[in-house]
Symmetry: C2
Subunit: 242 residues, 2 copies
Amino acid sequence: VITSTANSRIKSVRELHRGKVRRLQGRTLIEGHAVFAEFLAAGFRPVTVLCEPHDTATIDACHRSNIGFTLVTRDVLASASDTRAPQGPVAVIEIPQLSRLRLHNTLVLVDIQDPGNVGTMIRTSAAFGWDVAYTAATAEPWAPKTVRSAAGSHTRVGLILLTDPLEELSETGLHIVASVIAGGSPPSRSHDAVALLVGSEAHGLDREMVERADTTMTIPMPGGTESLNAAISAAIALFALT
Amino acid sequence: VITSTANSRIKSVRELHRGKVRRLQGRTLIEGHAVFAEFLAAGFRPVTVLCEPHDTATIDACHRSNIGFTLVTRDVLASASDTRAPQGPVAVIEIPQLSRLRLHNTLVLVDIQDPGNVGTMIRTSAAFGWDVAYTAATAEPWAPKTVRSAAGSHTRVGLILLTDPLEELSETGLHIVASVIAGGSPPSRSHDAVALLVGSEAHGLDREMVERADTTMTIPMPGGTESLNAAISAAIALFALT
């Protein structure tokens, strides 16, 4: 049982709280019983699993999947965790690399700033069977906090980083729909696979993105307010387009 | 200009961060330029307005609406605020009292725990022109954090506390729809005014609530995941029922 937070293996786990280290190593942290179980069920094989000696649920799961684990004290677990009072294991996984958009309904996150919104959008996409693509300026989808807020849904969606969004979108056969705050058509089901572009919470989509789209879409708001939360707006669009 | 956080007027503003004080006094805090402007536009007359001497936007707005204001230093403003770095004024308002459900589309929050979810649900209800009712065990809709997350939408919805939900709902002519995780009908537009019941994030609705409903509703999730975030699920239902 590791009892020291200064242990080198624990230190290297803790380093994954830094985005730069995650990008360099291509690894991230997942935590909690439910999320851990989702990842195992989806075939992920964690590189490292930290858990407490009395956490028989995690130990049994590791035995069944023939995965090694490291026993640690509560303090050591908390030092590796993203939360103050971790429930269940903290594990290191390899971030899966998907390089290209598929001809499949895809939610495109354009510079979404809030990690909670990104997590919720991934969870909603999983519920409706969509892939998720994201720009480099979007809050990192594989950050531990975002993985947590998506409740295990990362295993169920294709997650694609777009380095040149306009170019990469134009190479697909996807029907491109831009979500705009006013003036677009109400959402309606499409026969073709769709790329739905949603812009940042503060500024929406750039004009270039909107001009590039095949159509623009606006959710009718009979109550007369100006806007919906970004994750809410995306969810209604996914529901209506699916 | 008040320079001391120990000033008695500032202390009494700060006390409104406690739920018990808000309930006793029937007052709450609102903050930020956009939210403050929404409340003024809706006819609210704040009891107290704190702002910095250089905050000409707030000072001008108070002059135009003939409302008194108190100038304070940045430290004093921060001590009264719910955020570390307040942007714009902090103001005290009287919480409007609505006692009865109307024959009007109403989202019924049954024991929703997360203040952010409550705020988002109020914002979404405002966008679709619904009222919002809530049980006593729901996170307080008028808490400063919740008012902030709803971005000024509190002024646009009727907000009704239900002390005896089953009894009060049965007295209305509302068509009662219970949102359930599985087995309900897909959402569809209703000719009658609807009361849509949504249950707590962890447990959903009690069996008694579901049995009391005229119909049950489940959002189809072709992606095969188990659940959506509570605020997302409510938003899709509101969109589909409106």
